[in-house]
């Protein structure tokens, strides 16, 4: 009964405040928005301008690689894998040139609706970004208040740390003493 009431309530709410999202876009593909504010007399004009993306020409896609196309035609997959899965790159947490593409200018990982990755890859890349930040490899992509130089960090954080990528999908990271357990 309660579920029915809740469903009816949400239906009525949707009818009143229509919050349906149209996923059809009329803007040109591979453009990004830029918000510009300008002062004209006594009016402040805020406009959204579409600008060409700076990384369109440098983009690497599996369609561009000839070897991967042959493999794709032979096997039929219902749902195509995301670009990171199909590229098949072995990314480590020290590959800062790749990881910095998934990050805002303050070093925060972008959400999945922007990166367009699958669930597993998003988790993997997100964890590797954290590893790179903790190891102090992307210190120019950090918030202004953070301690940039790893040598100036506090206690154990000032020493070099490396991470093991195989632990990303482990439920529980094994401790060295586990060898002696029965």
């Amino acid at each position: 009964m309660a579920a029915l009431v809740r469903a009816g309530f949400s239906l009525a709410k949707n009818a009143i405040f229509s919050t349906s999202i149209r996923s059809i876009s009329t803007t040109k593909h591979l453009n990004i928005k830029e918000i510009r504010t300008s002062l004209e007399g006594s009016n402040i004009i805020i406009e959204g301008v579409t600008v060409p993306s700076p990384r369109t020409e440098l983009l690497i896609r599996p369609e561009k690689l000839n070897t991967l196309i042959e493999n794709k035609s032979t096997e039929s997959i219902e749902k195509p894998p995301c670009y990171m899965c199909s590229l098949g790159l072995d990314v480590k947490h020290t590959d800062v040139l790749i990881l910095s593409q998934f990050v805002r200018s303050d070093g925060c990982m972008l959400p999945r609706r922007i990166t367009g990755l699958c669930r597993r890859q998003q988790k993997k890349i997100g964890k590797m970004v954290t590893m790179a930040q903790k190891a102090g490899l992307m210190i120019n992509l950090t918030p202004a208040y953070s301690k940039k130089d790893p040598k100036k960090r506090w206690n154990y954080k000032k020493f070099n740390t490396y991470f093991d990528e195989t632990t990303i999908f482990m439920k529980r990271i094994p401790k060295p003493l586990d060898r002696f357990k029965r």
């Binding site: 876009s25 803007t27 040109k28 593909h29 591979l30 453009n31 990004i32 928005k33 830029e34 918000i35 579409t50 993306s53 990384r55 369109t56 440098l58 983009l59 690497i60 670009y83 990171m84 590229l87 790159l89 020290t94 800062v96 040139l97 790749i98 910095s100 593409q101 998934f102 805002r104 200018s105 303050d106 609706r113 922007i114 990166t115 367009g116 190891a135 102090g136 490899l137 992307m138 210190i139 120019n140 992509l141 206690n155 154990y156 020493f159 070099n160 740390t161 490396y162 991470f163 093991d164 632990t167 990271i173």
Partner: protein, 178 residues
């Protein structure tokens, strides 16, 4: 005996000096490598009763890297012998006190505990910085290869390279650059 064979034989019996750069290396992984050179296990004439070990000079021991949360989780145990004399020192505390101690203990632990071990350890020199006394550096003739690659920081890569590096991710069309 040819000249090459003669040099090979000379090199086998000589006590060579190796240098090992500990920068961004795991001490417990590199201890297994250093151990082999210290005991002379890389030589064809190796025997435990045979004094054929080499000398290893470790530099940059302050720059070692531990895995994951090892810096705050790994503890070093010491007992003074008196009641209540036990103490546990965390790895980062030990490294603060003596930056050569972790690598020394790692190499010591990797070897079998016999009477020879103390004498083998005498052939290991560890320096926290790159600066090594001249009389030690002039003997060094070989370098041991590092296990892990030293990572490059993003701010040390020139901006042109970062800009022109092949891109994987493309922003959606209505994304606002931040």
């Amino acid at each position: 005996m040819s000249a090459a064979k003669r040099v090979q034989q000379w090199a086998t019996f000589a006590r060579t000096w190796h240098v090992f750069d500990c920068k961004w290396q795991d001490p417990y992984e590199s201890a297994n490598i250093i151990k082999k050179y210290l005991m002379g296990m890389h030589k064809p004439i190796y025997h435990p009763m045979n004094d054929c070990g080499d000398v290893v000079v470790c530099i940059n021991s302050r720059e070692i890297a531990l895995r994951g949360d090892d810096w705050r989780k790994r503890a070093y145990f010491h007992h003074t012998g008196y009641p209540g004399g036990a103490s546990w020192t965390l790895a980062w505390e030990l490294h603060n006190k003596d930056p050569t101690m972790i690598i020394k203990k790692a190499v010591y632990r990797s070897m079998k505990g016999n009477l020879q071990r103390r004498h083998t350890m005498e052939r290991l020199f560890i320096y926290p910085e790159e600066k090594v006394p001249e009389d030690i550096m002039q003997n060094v003739t070989n370098q041991i290869r590092q296990i892990r690659q030293v990572p490059t920081r993003l701010d040390h890569i020139p901006e042109e390279v970062v800009k022109n590096y092949p891109k994987v991710m493309e922003y959606p069309e209505d994304y606002i650059l931040k």
